[in-house]
């Protein structure tokens, strides 16, 4: 290897430029050969990879165009079948025509998975949008064409989206055969699959819709809880259980959900369990139980709430005051009154006064008296709370 630049002592700019141009980096012969081969190999591999990528892109594009075209053709044909079946009058002639039509579609189209998939999607869309006799006709057609078999296979799919779609379809179509398999998915490690399966159980097992709560150790997030609550309200002919059955579950999120459901369905009989849960080790459960005592106006819980007040955190304390204001009664009012006048903290005193005001006439009279009283803090709070402009 030669570096002519080093031979000059003070090279000027043009010398440098010329010398750089003339410089040759020559590898020893032993190394030169493998480097040339390696470079060639890299070039060949790069060209082949580029060609492969281009080919796969073209194939993908061609395939998607083909399926798109096929899809729109199929959709047109299926629309004739579906509208013909849904909207034509039910008579003897129609029954025969319908059978013939279904046989024709079975022979011509439904031997391929892709064709069945398109029909399933169309049927599903119509099923979601139409009710009444059209609903029953579509469901019968779904079973007559045995479309549920493909969906049942999708329950084992590796892809979670396909699994969720299958659960949704099976529950909407009321495929009872799928119930045990979907029940197993209610404890799935993927929260999306789990929640979908739990909601599906409300549709599929209307006698024992919430059985999946028993022994379920998976976390039931707030979002899951809201979804389940909404689904239970929307589902018709659902057998609503006594939710205090699950108050002894080890999973706090399940207990929390059951407390909320007790409130939702006004299950006043759950009050012994709710009072017990006020002393739970889990603060979220305690908070939910305290809130429920107020919502259900459980007078029996007033003493327990008052006892809990000094031992708990500020979030639960606020909920307790709010619940006591709803429950009312002598115990609650005496406690709130004492807190209003004697609490060391101003905020606490204010919350107690606010709760007192909510209890009704007695509370308002007390605040009116405090307004004219000697205690400056109580008077200011009363002035604020009784101000009608606020």
């Amino acid at each position: 290897m030669t570096f002519p630049l080093l031979q000059h002592k003070v090279p000027d700019f043009y010398d440098c430029f010329r010398l750089i141009r003339e410089t040759r980096f020559e590898l020893p012969e032993s190394l030169a050969q493998p480097v040339v081969w390696l470079s060639l190999l890299i070039i060949v591999v790069s060209i082949l990879t580029s060609v492969a990528i281009l080919l796969s892109l073209f194939t993908y594009r061609f395939r998607s165009q083909y399926y798109q075209q096929k899809r729109s053709e199929l959709e047109k044909s299926y629309l004739l079948l579906l509208t013909g079946i849904i909207f034509e009058e039910e008579d003897e002639m129609h029954a025969q025509k319908k059978k013939k039509l279904i046989r024709h579609f079975q022979d011509e189209y439904l031997y391929k998975y892709f064709n069945r998939l398109i029909l399933r999607k169309q049927l599903f869309t119509l099923f979601k949008n139409f009710s009444g006799s059209a609903h029953d006709i579509l469901r019968n057609l779904y079973f007559e064409l045995q479309l549920e078999k493909d969906v049942l296979k999708n329950l084992n799919s590796f892809f979670y989206k396909r699994k969720i779609q299958a659960i949704r379809e099976l529950s909407l179509m009321q495929v009872k055969e799928s119930t045990p398999r979907i029940r197993k998915l209610t404890t799935h490690k993927n929260s999306l699959i789990r929640n979908e399966a739990q909601r599906a159980m409300l549709d599929l097992d209307k006698e024992n819709p919430f059985d999946f709560l028993t022994g379920n150790s998976q976390y039931l997030s707030d979002w899951d809880q809201v979804n389940l609550e909404i689904t239970s309200l929307k589902t018709e002919e659902l057998n609503i259980p006594y939710f205090d059955t699950w108050f002894n579950e080890k999973n706090p999120s399940i207990v929390q959900f059951c407390i909320k459901m007790c409130v939702r369905y006004n299950q006043f009989d759950a009050h012994p369990g709710l009072i017990r849960l006020l002393h739970s080790d889990n603060p979220k459960v305690t908070l939910e139980a305290a809130k429920a005592c107020g919502e259900l106006m459980i007078h029996e819980s007033a003493k327990a709430l008052i006892q809990l007040y000094p031992q708990t955190n500020s979030d639960i304390q606020k909920v307790i005051l709010n619940s006591l204001s709803k429950i009312g009664g002598a115990d609650a009012v005496v406690f709130l009154e004492s807190l209003y006048f004697n609490a060391p903290d101003d905020q606490e005193s204010f919350s107690a006064a606010l709760a007192l005001k909510t209890t009704g006439l007695y509370g308002e009279t007390l605040l009116a008296k405090a307004l004219k009283g000697n205690q400056q803090r109580s008077s200011l709070i009363a002035q604020h709370l009784l101000d009608e402009r606020l």
């Binding site: 959709e75 629309l79 579906l82 509208t83 849904i86 909207f87 169309q122 869309t125 119509l126 099923f127 979601k128 949008n129 139409f130 009710s131 009444g132 006799s133 059209a134 609903h135």
Partner: protein, 119 residues
């Protein structure tokens, strides 16, 4: 023959309803979104409007407002919607809708409501 303008973004539902209404003896003009619907309102004559609430570009309420402005307050309008919330229903009636149908609905029921409004 009476003409109905049908605006629905779900193509399958649009075509299914078109089939049903044609079978009932009506002439049907279709639109797949709010913008197309507004264009049809301005350019065509029709006797009844059936529109979905959730539409791309211009929603169902805008369409109802427009048709009432052009054709007059007495012009019959049926609104289809996935939302059955009280506020949404009241809003549709405030805009001048004559009927509000929540999905899923029975096609036979729609037929009867259409017949009632057109007679």
């Amino acid at each position: 023959m009476k003409t109905i303008l049908l605006i629905e973004d779900e193509e399958l539902i649009l075509r299914a309803l078109e089939f049903r209404l044609k079978r009932d003896g009506y002439n049907v003009i279709k639109a797949a979104d709010g913008r197309e619907g507004l264009h049809q309102i301005e350019t065509n004559n029709f006797d009844l409007l059936i529109t979905d609430m959730m539409l791309p570009f211009n929603n169902g309420l805008e369409v109802v407002g427009k048709v009432k402005k052009i054709k007059g307050k007495a012009f019959p309008v049926i609104v289809l919607s996935n939302v059955g919330l009280e506020n949404t229903v009241l809003e549709a009636f405030k805009m001048g809708a004559d009927d509000y149908i929540t999905k899923p609905f029975s096609p036979a029921e729609l037929s009867i409501r259409v017949k009632r409004l057109l007679n």
